[in-house]
Symmetry: C2
């Protein structure tokens, strides 16, 4: 295991110490390093809380900041945060307008967020929940509720965060997040495994010339393993799967996120995007907003994902709004 | 070789096509994809041009944008751009106030930038040059002119870019860049090699439990190879070398860049920064600006570098100014 770390059991907390030292815009509630919140909560605004396992930076905590989220409960590597931690973050970000939970569709997270939400409601905090489930590889059409949440949750954060910053009420912010959820689809491809520090060996094996389409960000099995194809053919396989569920044509507009899983260079993400752009151009659809880089990683895993958000007149300005977190900055043009 | 690409010989141009498709703020001069410039040159402003080999994204072209650079000549992977390409970019960014070249200390780049500069001067374009040489591992004190330019060149771009945006004249912008150069020191450490697409195999070998301190971003030999140490000890080795040349104490202020070389997760960079921050705290010096992430990579190389810029009253506001490129955004606070 070749990582910059001290003791594997300190990996998450020392990472958090580094973040707090680097970025005074964020802080922890009271004594728990893993209750990560904005240092500047805004009175009267709906609070948005996320959370999940570590090892995916900038997911989850990287989206806490202006025009995005207000807090994140941080779990161990690939582990859910506790309901106590989620409740603690919830109480901090409650500013009189209620709290929206947005997180990925994983059993442990659902259990702990649900429990925290019930405890929060008992303390008279209104809570709504929208669960990201954008990974089209992880279940068939008609069983979307079984799909995992992956990088596309970024679009839920972006849209709901901008809506909350406009001081929309809780039900409206939840409706926006839900619309972004329904309109977002992601396909991923993995080329190499990653190593959980406290485990010390790769989570799976993959041949030197193989790729796995549809693999999850914790190494969950994908839908096909084959020889690594040329970049354009890889993109075509991924987009064909998305386009089979949702067609795009003249008059349609989308936002696109090409996400690196950890070890894949930015150069390669642009080569992938070149083909994504060609495909939408051929379909006659407009790509209005583009982000490329690392947004939801699996530590040092090589691979990429492509997320597509169908835009409408309501979502487009929210997606295009400025945002400013220590990990993500966007300047509206 | 496990990369997302089509033909290796198209790697750079297809990457550039992807970038132009994604980011309308940048464009190419005339027909050459590799002459990369801002789409919105500003009349009367000093133009700043950089350039160098591909494979280091976001270096070099990623810093072309508002409050930073105006153009970049893009070479093949780890190869210099041609003097013709540099001249083409120079002519485009000349807006009546002259042009400053800022690039790294590599023989091919120096030869081609010098030639382009001479040709530009013959066309009555005033040209100044500042060459980044921040890598303290690459030569001893007293022979700093032999040192390679690595991630610390980011500080030269940031300071000179902000100075040019304030409409300072050419000699002033060059003086600022030169001061940032003299005040910047970097140390790197590599854990794994990378593969040049047209070569198809790693540039060097390194043992499964080894690190190399001081390795260059093209795999140039470092100053020591040893067993991978705990993160805090790795940082101490790197900073001890910087502190041996330049001491920091009470009243001193610095900007710090912790840069990932490609495959190293952001989590690990924060663990490294935690120790960097502790060391400056122990010395009594203030860390005023912090950036972490990938700023100058070596494709899929695992490793990191730490760059330190000594601030003064003139550099500090320039370093802290807002900037907005497709690859780098900073919002002044």
């Amino acid at each position: 295991m070749k990582k910059f770390l001290n003791r594997p059991e300190d990996f998450v907390d020392e990472m958090l110490e580094g973040i707090y030292r680097a970025h005074p815009q964020v802080t922890k509630t009271a004594d728990d390093l893993r209750c990560y919140v904005t240092a500047h909560p805004r009175p009267g605004k709906v609070g948005i809380v996320t959370g999940g396992g570590s090892g995916h930076l900038p997911l989850f905590l990287g989206y806490v900041g202006e025009n995005m989220l207000d807090g994140a409960a941080v779990g161990g590597v690939f582990q859910s945060p506790s309901s106590d931690q989620i409740l603690e973050v919830t109480k901090y970000v409650e500013q009189g307008a209620g709290v929206l939970y947005i997180y990925g569709n994983y059993t442990g997270d659902i259990m702990n967020f649900d429990m925290a939400g019930e405890l929060a409601e008992m303390e008279d905090i209104a809570v709504r929940t929208v669960i990201g489930n954008d990974d089209v590889a992880s279940s068939i059409v008609g069983e979307e509720h079984k799909r995992r949440g992956v990088a596309g949750i970024f679009f839920l954060y972006k849209a709901a965060g901008a809506a909350a910053a406009q001081m929309m009420p809780l039900d409206e912010v939840a409706r926006i997040a839900e619309k972004a959820r329904a309109n977002t689809r992601t396909m991923g491809v993995a080329l190499s495994p990653c190593i959980v520090p406290e485990v010390g060996k790769p989570g799976f094996e993959i041949g030197a010339d193989e790729m796995e389409i549809g693999m999850g960000i914790h190494g969950e099995p994908g839908i096909s393993r084959s020889k690594l194809a040329p970049a354009d053919a890889v993109v075509d396989q991924m987009l064909d799967r998305i386009f089979a569920e949702e067609s795009f044509g003249a008059g349609d507009a989308v936002a696109v996120l090409v996400n690196g899983l950890g070890a894949t260079p930015l150069e390669e993400l642009y080569i992938l995007f070149r083909r994504v752009s060609q495909r939408f151009e051929e379909a006659g659809a407009a790509v209005r907003n583009v982000w490329l880089g690392e947004f939801a990683t699996s530590m040092e895993m090589a691979g990429a994902s492509i997320s597509v958000l169908r835009l409408d007149a309501e979502l487009e300005p929210l997606i295009a709004a400025s945002a400013d977190t220590p990990f993500f900055k966007h300047v509206a043009r």
